[in-house]
Structure formats: structure tokens, C-alpha cells
């Protein structure tokens, strides 16, 4: 996410850092480059202009010229301003005592409303809510069917009425259905619409008026360009929405639209969609995102993710093995499973400070883990427990059995041996921190670019 922007800003900032002192001239030059970086990232023209002038004003106002570490100061100022631009803290969905609380999703066609409504339902269910989805997109062919299928996948009921051609009626029926069936939260999936489509905007205004949603979320594609602010503004004028959802953030977009929309309508970004799976939803953390843009990485998210997904009993078992220096392929396999549970590798790596820059054009393929697994799974029980017995013939058999080349099997074995070495190192160093042990061996990514 936003890695390109991070990379480019880093280059620019390096220039400032490289120079002993900041003069008005080199501030101007650097700011010009930052401005360009922000344009390339799709940040809105007006937002960029204001951002740049704020940064400049603050830089000069603070007597940067005589500062001992001008680079750090500028980074801090840019960081502060970016956070200011994106809102300084995360914000939650609003609920009321009313049954059901209504959440309505709105946005342009193809922004990802239907997928996101299912993700949100699943997310809220995990937080103890009892959601109901309502299929109110009566226009797009098969949109209702799509929501019904998604509902089934996450075991959350979907209210639909294919015969009804009035979105308002369907939504009102859904409210009744929720009341009768003790669903405390109703998520309304609406049709995608253009902000300039008067008729369609009237429809969604009518929905708002009748349902009085606790929360209206504007769903926007993170790849959106300069038009993002116009659309967001137009929807906001009509609906006064409460939050923004940024979808498809698992792509390589720089996502400047996020900054722009936030700056223009001044509504918090509440969630981001970060993958194809229905649990690929994340609370949006503006402060962390700002750090990320500046290449400081999102280490907080990384640790949180690690803590919530990493099985502690498993890892203490692993720790025990490590201490006794008995690490075999079964352990390797369970270690891989632990990593896999934490989500996509690329997602994890992108949270590590500096990784974005190092791995800029290097792709992390999540299938790497599956490939390694397939090799281990083709080993016999004896081989897994006694790694040293794996000779050439056995390697050949493992390769055939797992559908891999022998070179690939060799790489996995090499990797395993490296890991054993690393573990020995660990036991010597007494490095017992959980985070340290999870460290993915350097070179694993490189070696397994398949």
C-alpha cells in the first residue's frame, strides 16, 4: 500500500537529509518534488497546494535554517501535516439502542459495495453483533444473487425480494425482518450510482430519509484519481455521510484519493478493504498510514496482527524445541502454518519499516508457502523427524511426489538448514522474544520467487 509514494518521498527526503543545511532554495526544490510525488499519487490539486504551503509555512516559521538536523525536522513536519490531513485518530462505527441499527453503504458503480457489505457483516458478527444484510441494488444484473451467495459463505442472513422493484420498500421490509428475527444491525447494500444522476441520488436520499441510518459509509476505490473529491463532495452534499471506506487497498495504488477525500469532506476513513477474502477488512489507522507514506513502516499493525493470530501455545512449544535444538520438518510445517494464519505475506511484509523500499519491485508471492508445504508434505514421517537422512534419491522422490523440480526441493532443504542454523544462533544469543523468532529468514523471499 502506498509504497510508491513512500519510496518517492524517501528519495526526496534523502536529498534534504544529504544537505547540511536547509535554505529557502532547497526547501522550494524539495517541496516541488514532494508536490509532484503527491500528484503522481492522485492527491487532489487543491489539497496538494494547501499541503505544500502549510509545510512550507511551518518549516520556515520554525527557523529550520539554523536547525542542526534539518532533515528530521522536515520529516516531522510533513508527517504531522499528513496526519492532520488524514485525521488524527481511528474512528468506530456508530450504533444506537434502536433495533436494528442501520448502516447504509453508498458509492459509485464498481467501488466494491457488495463485497464490502459482506466483509463488514462478518466483521461486526465477530464483534458480537447480529447483522442482517439487505440487498437493495435492484439495478445491476445479479447484484442481489451476489449478496445472497456472499451471505451464505459467511452464514449471515440476507434479506432480498426479487419481485420488488423499489429499493425503499425492500429496505423497509428488511427493517421489519430484522425486528422480527432479532437482528440488531442492518447493513444496506445500495446500487452504485453516479453523483450527477439526479434520479438515482433522489432514490438514495429517500432511503436516508426513511431509514435514518446510524451510519452512512461512502465506499470508494483506492485507485480513484482526481475526480475522487468531486464525487465524494457530491455524495456528501446529498447524504452527509459519516465515514469513508477505502477498497482494493491491496493493490499497488498510491491511494492519494484517501487523503484528498478526507481533506475535502472532513469525514473519517473508517475501514479499508485489503483482499479478495471476506475477512480482508481492516480498521483504518490514519496515523499509521501517514508513517507508512513517509517510509517509517506500520510496525504497530504488524505487531497487533502477530499478537492476534499467533497461537501462543503453539509458539511456546516451538520455543521449547528451539531451546533443545530439536527442530525438524514437522516444526517447520507448523511454523509455516502460523505465518499463514497471519494473512498474506505481502500484506505482512508491507507493514515492516523499510521493507517497502527494499522490496519495492520485488514481489512477494503468497504461493511460496504453499510450495514449501507441498515439499514437506511429500516427505515420509521418518524423513520429517530426521532431516539428515534425506539423500539424493529421497530428494528425487520428494520432487516427483510433490510435483516440484529437484532444484526446488533442494532450495527448501537449504532453507530449512539455514533456519536450523539461525535457531542455533538464537539459543546461543538467548534471543527469546516472540517477534524475533517469527522473523522470516532473509533470503527466503528471494530464493522462492517461483
Amino acid at each position: 500500500m502506498l509504497e510508491d509514494l513512500t519510496g518517492k518521498l524517501e528519495t526526496v527526503l534523502k536529498k534534504i537529509r544529504g544537505q547540511g543545511k536547509i535554505t529557502e532554495n532547497n526547501i522550494d526544490e524539495s517541496l516541488r518534488e514532494i508536490r509532484r510525488v503527491l500528484f503522481d499519487a492522485d492527491v487532489n490539486y487543491k489539497v496538494v497546494s494547501k499541503f505544500i504551503s502549510d509545510v512550507k509555512e511551518r518549516s520556515l516559521g520554525q527557523n529550520v535554517l539554523n536547525s542542526i538536523t534539518p532533515g528530521q525536522l522536515i520529516v516531522k513536519i510533513i508527517n504531522d501535516e499528513l496526519i492532520k490531513l488524514m485525521g488524527s485518530e481511528k474512528s468506530e462505527i456508530k450504533f444506537s439502542d434502536r433495533i436494528p441499527s442501520v448502516i447504509m453503504l453508498v458509492g459509485l458503480q464498481g467501488s466494491g459495495k457488495t463485497t464490502f457489505s459482506a466483509k463488514l457483516a462478518k466483521y461486526l458478527k465477530s464483534k458480537g453483533k447480529n447483522p442482517l444484510l439487505a440487498a437493495c441494488d435492484i439495478y445491476r444484473p445479479a447484484a442481489i444473487e451476489q449478496l445472497k451467495i456472499l451471505g451464505k459463505q459467511i452464514s449471515i442472513p440476507v434479506y432480498a425480494n426479487e419481485k420488488e422493484k423499489n429499493a425503499l420498500k425492500i429496505s423497509e421490509e428488511a427493517v421489519q425482518f430484522a425486528k422480527q428475527n432479532a437482528r440488531d444491525t442492518l447493513i444496506i447494500d445500495t446500487a452504485g450510482r453516479l453523483a450527477i444522476d439526479e434520479e438515482m441520488m433522489n432514490e438514495v436520499s429517500a432511503l436516508k430519509k426513511a431509514l435514518k441510518p446510524e451510519e452512512i459509509l461512502f465506499v470508494v476505490d483506492s485507485m480513484t484519481g482526481q475526480d475522487a473529491v468531486n464525487t465524494a463532495q457530491a455524495f456528501h452534499d446529498r447524504l452527509d455521510f459519516d465515514g469513508i471506506v477505502l477498497t482494493k487497498l491491496d493493490g499497488d495504488t498510491r491511494g492519494g484519493a484517501a487523503l484528498s477525500i478526507k481533506a475535502v469532506v472532513n469525514v473519517p476513513i473508517k475501514f479499508s478493504g485489503i483482499g479478495e477474502k471476506l475477512d480482508a477488512i481492516e480498521q483504518f489507522h490514519p496515523d499509521r498510514m501517514a508513517s507508512r507514506i513517509l517510509g517509517m513502516g506500520d510496525i504497530v499493525s504488524f505487531v497487533e496482527k502477530a499478537q492476534s493470530e499467533f497461537d501462543l501455545s503453539q509458539s511456546s512449544k516451538l520455543e521449547e524445541k528451539l531451546r533443545r535444538n530439536k527442530f525438524d520438518y514437522n516444526d517447520f510445517l507448523s511454523y509455516l502454518n502460523q505465518i499463514k494464519k497471519m494473512g498474506s505475506l505481502s500484506g505482512l511484509i508491507s507493514m515492516i519499516p523499510g521493507a517497502g523500499k527494499i522490496l519495492k519491485n520485488q514481489e512477494i508471492d503468497d504461493k511460496v508457502l504453499v510450495k514449501i508445504e507441498s515439499v514437506i508434505q511429500s516427505m515420509t514421517k521418518k524423513e520429517r523427524e530426521n532431516p539428515h537422512i534425506i539423500n539424493g534419491m529421497r530428494r528425487r522422490r520428494i520432487a516427483d511426489g510433490s510435483g516440484n523440480t529437484i532444484q526446488h526441493v533442494n532450495r527448501v532443504i537449504k532453507q530449512f538448514e539455514d533456519m536450523q542454523k539461525m535457531i542455533r544462533q538464537f539459543s546461543r544469543d538467548q534471543g527469546r522474544g516472540l517477534m524475533k523468532k517469527m522473523k522470516i529468514p532473509a533470503g527466503m523471499m528471494k530464493d522462492f520467487k517461483i
Binding site: T224, Q226, D250, D252
Partner: protein, 314 residues
Amino acid sequence: MSLLDKLGFKKLKQGLNKTKENIFGQVNRLINARGVIDDEFLAELEEILISSDIGADTSEILIENIKSRVQKDKYLDRNELNTLINDEIRKVLINSVSGFSTFDFRIDKKPYVIMIVGVNGVGKTTSIGKLAYNFKKAGKSVLIGSADTFRAAANDQLEIWANRAGVEIIQSTKTSDPASVAFDTVNSAIAKGTDTVIIDTAGRLHNKSHLMEELKKIKRVMQKLIPEAPHEIFIVIDATTGQNGLNQAKEFSNALGGLTGIILTKLDGTAKGGIVLKINHEMKLPVRFVGVGEQIDDLQLFESESFVEALFEK
């Protein structure tokens, strides 16, 4: 007579540039208001350019060109200044842009296989419905292959479009692999003697290598039946897309060994799709069709001049 004449596409919607002011109008107004080219003038021009999503570098080139032309040529009055600027805009945005000429389908190949790719939510399925409708109208038989086996109800959506267009469709079953659907579709078209095959694929982000591998496989299996298939690979790009559109085009092109055109969708909104100029500039990839609405006949041929005019309408 070319197939396109028979297809009966409308030219870029008249309504699009009816009441709005295009770039030439805006520049004219700017000149009348300011009279001279100063920093403020250039800043306003820059805003007009950047806001169209044509990208910072293209905007920079254009502004530098105008600056140096003004220094070199001078100008007598507002009229001359206006002409000079219009000239430069045309040079950079319209004339130097290659491959924008309208394109004709070679229909000597039968079946003529078209593969549609793009990121999620850009309008692939809808565009296929519209394309199929136009081919059908031109008297060509069409078979659609539903190789989006991932998105829930994608096949239902495509089937509705196929019915609207009055063309046949090969459906995927729940368990089927997208490549096998594509294979079956082409196979069936060969057997039936169908003129055109259109293969729908699941939306995918271009940085997901396993999904791009899947796309390669779809292409590969079709080539088992027809070595030169697909004859066309169109990438669908949403007009609201910003600078990321270039990455999309590049990555899909890399994975598939080249693309043959862009379908630019959702041009009926406020976004103008300026990114396609940059894509065209860097990749020589032409825009072939534009989507201007949700109706089945809302697909039009791309036309560069009116596109550029519409690009800067306010």
C-alpha cells in the same frame, strides 16, 4: 465496408459536451480574464491539466512548451495567445498521441476471439454485454465464455447480459476452472462456426501474481485450439482511475504478452479518464471503445479530438 460501419456505434455522445466548457473554452476564458501569461495563469492552467488525470509529467511538458513558445514567438494580442496555447495543447494531447485512429476488426478469422481483462469493478461484464449486442446487431454470431469463476454471481450477471444481447453463453459450473471454460467456449465456437468469441475473466488486481498466472493459463489453453488466439485482448479501465491505471495496463500487458486495446468505461460520470492518454503515450495502446452508460447500446467508438475536448470540461 468495414465491420465498424455496420456495428452502428454512435460517436461520442453529443450530450457529453453540450453545456460544459471544454479545455479550449477554459483557456480562452483564462486568457480573457488575465491577458498575460504569468505565474498565476500557469498555475490555473496546471490545475486544469492535473485535474484531468493526465499526470504530472504530461502537464509539466505542456506547460514548459507553452512557456518556451511564448518566449520565442511572442504574441500580439489575446487572440494570438489563444491560438498559440490551443496549438500546443493539440500538439501534446491529440496529434502526438499515437494509435488513436479508429480501428477495424479483421473478420477473416473465425472465430474471432476477444479476451477481456481488468481490475475489479471496472465494468468488464457490462462491457461484454454491450460488445456482444453490437456484434449481434452487425449480423455476427457471438458466443460468450463466462470464465469469471471467482466472483459470486458473476456468471448470473453475464447470463443476463447475454440474454439481453440475444447471444449464446457457455457457463461455468461452480467447480470449473476458468481456463477450462475458455477452452470449452472456443471449442464450441469452432464446432458451431461462430463468428466471435468473447471471454469474460474475473477482476483481479495486477500485483497478485497467482491471479495473473491464472490469466496466462486461460490464454495458453485457448492457443491449443487456435494458435493465434486471442485475437484481441482488451483491458477495461474505469474513467475514475487515477495514475494507477498505467500500472494496470503495464502489468496486464506484461503478463499476457501484450494487449490490443483499452475499453474506457463510466465516461458518463464526472471523471474523464485522462490516464488513458498517458497509457497511450507510454505503451502505444489505443483506446478502442468508451462506455457511457448502463444501457446495452451505451458503448461507443473512441474518437480522440472529442475525447480531449471532453477531458477538460467543467
